[in-house]
Symmetry: C2
């Protein structure tokens, strides 16, 4: 029988990120993560399918929030305005997560397999956003280009947020990044 552990998931996440940073992702085991968190390996596997899911478990949450927000925008909105609104929602899961996101990014950048996985995640997100726009009646190639523009804005804004101190919220970087993309496209 397992007893309830206060904030077990958060403790496991922190222990995992610390160990991945200290000794590398490949060199860390689920048992070591559980030990560092003062929990059992069984508790680890109740929260995560494997040690990679500590890094990518949030991806499906992000995709769901992003796609649902886009699907919920008014059909009358221009596709880029629908995307702007969806980007505001996509920033929400990252509130209070700057340190986690920063540490996670460093771990991912240090490992080729994890970098690939991150690219796949973004490509899958782009595909899902384009499909959502098509369902809203946006024709091709507009749907695909709007989705790719949204991902570009998210990626660049996210990287700038990670590199900054954490005082400003992700949503502000996403807004700036979208404004900048509009300026670029307008030839400014």
């Amino acid at each position: 029988m397992s007893r309830w552990e206060p904030n077990a998931r958060g403790r496991l996440e922190k222990a995992a990120l610390d160990l991945y940073s200290e000794r590398g992702f490949e060199q860390t085991t689920a048992a070591q993560i559980a030990e560092r968190a003062g929990l059992t390996e069984r508790t680890f596997f109740r929260h995560f399918a494997d040690k990679r899911e500590v890094l990518f478990g949030g991806a499906s949450t992000l995709e769901k929030v992003f796609v649902d927000a886009l699907a919920g925008t008014s059909d009358a909105a221009a596709p880029i305005d629908a995307m702007a609104s969806a980007l505001e929602s996509a920033a929400v899961p990252f509130l209070e997560r700057h340190e986690f996101a920063r540490q996670r990014q460093a771990v991912i950048m240090a490992n080729a397999e994890l970098r690939e996985r991150e690219l796949i995640k973004l490509a899958s997100l782009s595909t899902a956003l384009a499909a959502t726009l098509r369902r809203r009646g946006v024709p091709e190639p507009t749907a695909n280009l709007t989705a790719e523009a949204g991902i570009a804005v998210f990626k660049v804004g996210f990287e700038r947020w990670i590199a900054a101190s954490g005082d400003r919220a992700l949503v502000e970087f996403l807004r700036e990044s979208l404004d900048e993309l509009k300026a670029v496209a307008a030839g400014e």
Copy 2:
């Protein structure tokens, strides 16, 4: 001593693509490709490091052509106009290559590992384009967003070219795709 084989590279490419399409990429060996082309395995390895390079050997050519064209544009040009000009050059290696590109895309889409490799190729291209823009004095985040916009235009235009009959050149699809991105960003 090896004798000269007329258009050995082209014959090997065609044999490889045919075999990858017929029996799958994983199930095809370099020996089978050489045999289908009526050449020796040794000739295959004079032209390609491995069977994956038949599909991705063009990636470094594309990156070189694309980056060189971007580097060669006037510093006075707006970043998006420099990118537009570079996209015209990036289409050149694909002249007379519609059938190859179409068949290659189908092989890549059928294999998860090859799809990942294609994503990595595009991410590497985006990084190289952003670095080229920074060297031309374009600040961040403009450089990164222009590079990502260029890749989005290339990706969407390329997919539409592949899906079309091959009567129209890639460059036309890239121009349309860029115009469409501008319209999207302008909220049209």
